[in-house]
Every structure is written in structure tokens, then in C-alpha cells.
Symmetry: C2
Subunit: 145 residues, 2 copies
């Protein structure tokens, strides 16, 4: 009963890779799901500490790496600076607001991915595509969050 609602899915995915569902991994995954911005490892560390004060930063890095390996979380790098983590697994692009520094997920219709893939000359076999927009989001959008 102390399990978070995501614990089962997490346990399953980890088991698929021969890994254990530890309390640290659960709490790291939970904080990512709770606030779906795109936190850095440090920010995750700060949030996790309030629930589990004894956790170490190294463990947060380890857990995030593990979650990325299991395809439960995406690591995102669009500018120089710390890696950010994103628990949204559906195909989506990112919109980076240059004024506020905030990052939004933009859902992608499957058709667009196919279209984008047509630009690849023969000989290039892509397993994934990443699309990142930069620009300005209106105040309306900013408040929605």
C-alpha cells in the first residue's frame, strides 16, 4: 500500500532488463511524473531529498541513467548545460522558450515522423528522430501549465 501508482509498471520494466525496483528508483521515477517539467539531475535530487533525505546525488544520477536504459525516461540535451529528463514516452517534440527558458512538450502526429524521415538519403537508417523548436510561447501558453 506504500507503493506509488507507477510502481508496477516500473517494476515490470526494470525486471525486463534484469534489474530491481528499489525505493530510490521508485522515488526518482515518481518525482519525474509528478511535475512534468524537464528537470536536471540536480533538480531531481532536490525534489527527491524531501521524500528521502538520505539519498545521494550519485544515486540520482544512477537511477536516471537506469530509467533511460529501460526506456522509461528520455534524456534531453538541447543546449550546453546539464542534461534534462523527461518521462513523456509518447512521440513528441520539444519547444524551448528563449525568454523564460521553459520547455514544453509538443505532441507529434505519427504521420509527421514518416514525413520527416523522407528527407533521409538512401544509406541512412534512423532509429529515432528528435525535433526541437526554439522561440517564444505566448503568455496564454505559459499560464496553462
Amino acid at each position: 500500500m506504500s507503493h506509488s501508482p507507477n510502481a508496477e509498471a516500473l517494476t515490470q520494466r526494470l525486471a525486463d532488463s534484469g534489474l530491481r525496483a528499489t525505493p530510490q528508483r521508485e522515488v526518482v521515477y515518481d518525482v519525474l511524473l509528478q511535475k512534468r517539467d524537464h528537470p536536471t539531475a540536480d533538480e531531481v535530487f532536490a525534489r527527491v531529498k524531501s521524500e528521502m533525505p538520505t539519498i545521494s546525488l550519485a544515486t540520482v544520477y544512477n537511477c536516471l541513467e537506469t530509467l533511460v536504459q529501460c526506456d522509461l525516461v528520455r534524456a534531453v540535451n538541447f543546449e550546453r548545460g546539464p542534461t534534462r529528463y523527461c518521462p513523456n514516452l509518447r512521440p513528441h517534440a520539444h519547444f524551448h522558450d528563449e525568454k523564460t527558458g521553459r520547455t514544453y512538450d509538443i505532441e507529434l502526429p505519427p504521420a509527421i515522423l514518416q514525413t520527416v524521415n523522407t528527407v533521409l538519403p538512401s544509406g541512412f537508417d534512423a532509429s529515432s528522430v528528435e525535433i526541437t523548436f526554439r522561440g517564444q510561447a505566448s503568455a496564454k501558453v505559459a499560464n496553462r501549465e
Copy 2:
């Protein structure tokens, strides 16, 4: 007569931003154009030193930053690790070969950019898009370079 063929364009662009065309900036820009892979600042530093042994790493960082500001060079970050620099100004995507670590430029027909922009909900105003593929390039492609 000691000018590189790109010196004029460089001087012009810098002047537009109220900046000077220094020997350091010229040589940094030149090495980027000479070998159109996607070098890190350290790699640029190594190449530049053979032409200008007294240049410092800090200056290479400064010059690269300046060139990016003037839109003569693009800074690229697709994975955790050092920023890479790319003198290709035409709209293009990147293909990152996961086996070799090599990065290829993929030319983009203008139409595709418009199509991609249609995925943005209202309220998002993009000034640029970045598209990055990950996957495998065939041996044929690898040799072409």
C-alpha cells in the same frame, strides 16, 4: 594576400555586429570550413594551434561564441558531452551514427520545415527548428566523406 578566401564574408558579418575581424577569429573560422566534420572546441583548438601556436583555448571558446552570435556557425548539442560546431548555414538536419559517433549533415528542402511547423499549437511561435536523427549509416555513406 594573406587573407583566406572567407575573410571578406567574415569581416562583413563581424562588422555588422560591431566587431573586428581578428587573426584569431579568421583562423578559427577557416579550420571550421576546411574540415566539415563537427569538431568540439578542443578539437578546433588542436587544429588551430598548428597554424597559430600561441592561441589560447579561452580565445578559441571566445571566437566560437562570437561566430555563433554572428550566425556564421551553428552550435550543436545532441548528447551530453562537449558542444560541437558546424559552419553549414543552409537549413539542414543532423544524422548521428550511433556506431561510429560520426555526424552527417542532411539537407532539408524548405517545404519540410513548413510542414514540421504545422505541429505547433497556437501560442507557440518558433524562430528555428532543429532535427536530429539517430541510427546507422551504411558503409557506402561512411566512405563518401
